[in-house]
Amino acid sequence: MASIRPMTALDLFHFNQTNLDHLTETYHIGFYLEYLSRWPHLCRVIEGHDGTIEGYILGKLEASPFPPPNPPYDPDTNPNPNYLPWHGHITALTVAPGARRLGHATKLTESLERQSDAHDAWFVDLFVRAENSVAQELYRKMGYSVYRRVVGYYNDDSDAFDMRKPLSRDKDRKHVRENGENINVEPSEVW
């Protein structure tokens, strides 16, 4: 069974079940501390009945670090589709191999979406490798769609799909579009 709670710094001593998975990166301590201190409401763990951490999510709330083309930001008057208004971003989402297919990823993502919504974000986005169809399907089922393809985003020159899900502030779904897989952008155009 699962119980979601905020991630704490001491959880770093207890996340071996998730971080021993070869697809999960273990960062230096400063990385986690930054997320825990700046966006504690977007960092959650999901525990099993014995308190073992079975998964976690790290996210942030941000906007492009420069003013919108036509301030104040309005999706109807914004000419730059690559400008990022206030939104939630999923930086890391991982579930222990032995706890997969239990809906943990969905529950963690939903918790981040609720928090982003409560903080007036327009949407939640994430990056996923273009060849990772499994992850893309997982997010599609949660209501995400591809907004654009970032060409050569990863260190090995693989492309990334920027996937988004609009939140309640975006009633008219102005921040998502069809066929985003065919809209290419360079990494320099993406903040």
Binding site: A9, F13, N16, D21, P40, G103
Partner: protein
């Protein structure tokens, strides 16, 4: 006053002298003769005097002279350096100090006064320096001044409260009176903020954000004010449902935990029941209904209430959920369904039929065994046998499917059945039972690769081989008293079985760590090192997992490896000393990073996280693992006849080697399918008893094992 010599230049100059402090001191004094009022030179002089055992008092006098200097020093970098020096000196005498002393505090105050309108910058610098040095009374003073200078900024108000609590926590053992005072201050200011919020939510220092509410929850809980915190969480202006709390589930959970701690079982029951009942009307359930803590607290409170302990009302609620189609997939509700029959405290029981239904529903998932194991072990003996037979016949009845996805489910069903058979039957079996079980496990493992399903790790049936390895180890233990040499063949078979396991699932690091333990047991240090290398254990995971390789490394593998070229052992991993040194580097680096992080983040100081980060520093600096690594390093150096070089060993206090140990080692990574009344499997493949404080207690007193103490702060 001329300060053409900067601190950076003096540091460079000091490095060129190396250990020749006497010559450096002569040079410094010569320069001071020409420029006696030069502050940078005086700091250098103090540092050099301190390095001489007979001149430490003189060093302190120089430092105090700088603190009392008139006109006061206004260069903040220099002031911070003096503060660091004073902190270093005092910490040598007493590692639990909270302040560098009144003279240092006064030095900062004077610098601030001289700064005019920029006083806040001075106190920010004081705060950052104090945090870096772990001197929380100094940090408290800095924050108090910042609060007084910036009365419109609530972050300094709440920052002062957090830092006061930290100051209290850090001196509790050595000065309980001071700790009590600081705790009282923290609570007094915090409760004042709460009162202000209730009377005027828009007051200057009202609790108006999640961070601030979180700080309230932390400190009230720390100080045992649970009832008061409960009434805050229930308040419409400041509590869970207010604009401050935003219905954050964090506070809902805190509320149920507090009610349980206060044994308010009737309120707890009603709260959880009402939420879960309301969840029935939500189309996909609610946030709370999909949280196990609601269910577990409901059942726990029912067990304590005279009118509810038959569990009937809870059972009816669960049945309502079970009748809903979506809930058939919800693991929490299934677990409630399994657990509800245990509500009557005087007559708890496990319903075998429910266990069978759970198996039927979750057999293809890894959680099937982990969820059911603690329940089925409580079944009566004949029911346990019945359950095992049920899982076996259920898996045998299912024909081998052709579809790849179904094949994986079929493999998982068989594997889960094997695990239950091991838990309830084979684990205590005799030689024949174990040997038959090994054959069964290997048959499944071979089948898994014949089918070539596209998956790896615990969801793919690899644990069938792990079960076989466990049985081989047990066969060794069963036969070793009769025939040691024959018994060893079981160990060799177990080790040999690791090879295909690793080759077929190269990405599975848990398997590799399992192999590390087994190889170390057999004295195969190079092979263990090779597997450890591929695990890429780094950063904080060194503290929790490095013991897997390094426990008793000095016995197994004290000398550099001369492995064949076919073994892909990178250079550092050929030498146990180098490996240990690498593992030890994370401590001081991590602690320094955390402290620097806390101090640098002052403009956005997350006071609600300060207490948490401080706990992390304590966990790392009192870690048992770092002491274990140091002892192993010392032993290896002795065996090799080597001088022990200076180590970057973290913030270990050698004068207080064993107090307040924090054992962060994680043995949960080793597979464990044992019944609770048997030795955990991790213990069977450990190459000796669990290293504990007694085994390391004598180490620091041996000159050869005691490393040189680096200067602090670095």
């Amino acid at each position: 006053m001329s300060n053409r010599l900067t601190l950076a230049k003096v540091d460079e100059l000091d490095k060129t002298y190396g250990r020749n402090h006497k010559q450096a001191l002569k040079d410094c004094e010569k320069k001071l003769q020409k420029d006696p009022k030069n502050v940078v030179l005086q700091i250098w002089k103090a540092n050099l005097l301190w390095k001489s055992p007979k001149q430490k008092d003189e060093a302190w006098d120089v430092c105090m002279g700088l603190c009392k200097r008139e006109p006061p020093i206004t260069d903040l970098e220099i002031v911070a350096r003096i503060h660091e020096f004073a902190g270093l000196v005092l910490s040598r005498q007493n590692s639990s100090i909270n302040s560098a002393g009144k003279e240092v505090q006064s030095m900062w105050q004077k610098a601030a006064k001289a700064a005019g309108k920029n006083q806040s910058n001075v106190f920010i610098s004081m705060f950052q320096t104090s945090v870096k040095l772990d001197l929380w009374s100094d940090a408290q003073l800095a924050m108090l001044n910042l609060r007084n200078l910036n009365r419109d900024e609530p972050k300094y108000y709440f920052g002062y409260i957090a830092v006061s609590q930290l100051a209290a926590d850090n001196v509790r053992d050595v000065d309980p009176k001071a700790a009590e005072t600081d705790s009282k201050w923290a609570f007094a200011f915090l409760s004042k903020a709460v009162e202000q919020t209730l009377s005027n939510p828009s007051a200057r220092n009202a609790v108006g954000s999640l961070n601030e509410l979180r700080l309230v929850a932390q400190i009230y809980r720390k100080q045992g004010k649970r009832k008061e915190l409960l009434s805050i969480l229930d308040n419409k202006d400041i509590g869970i449902t207010s604009k401050v709390g935003k219905n954050d589930p964090e506070f809902t959970k805190a509320k149920v935990e507090l009610m349980e701690e206060e044994e308010m079982y009737a309120d707890l029951y009603k709260f959880c029941y009402d939420i879960l009942k309301a969840g029935l009307n939500a189309p996909d359930g609610s946030v709370e209904t999909s949280d196990w803590s609601m269910w577990s607290h409901l059942m726990q409170s029912a067990a304590e209430l005279p009118g509810k302990k038959d569990g009937k009302e809870v059972e009816e609620l669960i049945q309502e959920y079970m009748a809903r189609e979506p809930s058939q997939k919800e693991r929490n509700i299934w677990m409630a369904y399994l657990s509800s029959s245990r509500i009557p405290k005087d007559a708890p029981r496990v319903d075998i039929e429910r266990c069978k239904k759970y198996f039927d529903h979750f057999f293809e998932l890894h959680c099937c065994f982990t969820d059911l194991r603690h329940l089925v072990i409580s079944l009566e003996l004949d029911e346990r046998g019945s359950f095992v037979e049920y899982t076996i016949s259920s898996t045998n009845a299912a024909p081998e499917p052709e579809d790849k996805a179904d094949q994986l489910k079929w493999i998982m069903k068989k594997l889960n059945s094997l695990k239950f058979e091991y838990l309830l039957r084979a684990a205590k079996g005799d030689k024949q039972t174990l040997e038959a079980f090994v054959r069964k496990c290997l048959d499944l493992y071979k089948k898994r690769y014949e089918l070539d399903v596209d998956a790896s790790g615990p969801i793919a049936g690899d644990e069938a081989a792990v079960l076989a390895i466990m049985c081989l180890v047990k066969l060794h233990d069963l036969t070793t008293s009769k025939d040691v040499i024959s018994a060893e063949k079981y160990y060799i078979q177990a080790a040999a079985l690791c090879r295909p396991l690793i080759e077929k699932s190269p990405a599975d690091r848990q398997v590799r760590l399992f192999a590390v333990k087994l190889y170390m047991l057999l004295g195969l240090g190079s092979m263990a090192s090779e597997q450890y290398l591929f695990c890429r254990i780094k950063e904080i995971m060194q503290d929790t997992l490095s013991h897997t390789l390094f426990s008793r490394l000095s016995i197994t593998h004290p000398f550099p490896s001369t492995t064949p070229a076919s073994m892909r052992l990178e250079k550092p991993f050929r030498d146990s000393c180098t490996m240990l040194q690498q593992a030890l580097t994370i401590y001081e680096r991590s602690i320094s990073k955390i402290r620097g992080f806390m101090g640098q983040a002052l403009p956005t100081f997350q006071f609600d996280k300060a207490l948490e980060f401080n706990d992390m520093i304590i966990r790392l600096s009192t870690s048992y693992t770092v002491r274990l690594l140091l002892v192993e390093f010392g032993r290896i150096c002795r065996l090799r006849g080597q001088e022990q070089s200076a180590l970057n060993y973290g913030s270990v206090d050698f004068d207080d080697w064993l107090s307040k140990l924090s054992d962060n080692r994680d043995d949960g990574i080793t597979y464990d399918f044992e019944p609770p009344d048997l030795t955990p499997f991790a213990s069977r493949i450990r190459n000796g008893p669990v290293p504990n404080p007694r085994s390391t207690s004598s180490a620091p007193r041996t000159p050869q094992t005691r490393p040189s103490r680096p200067s602090r702060p670095s």
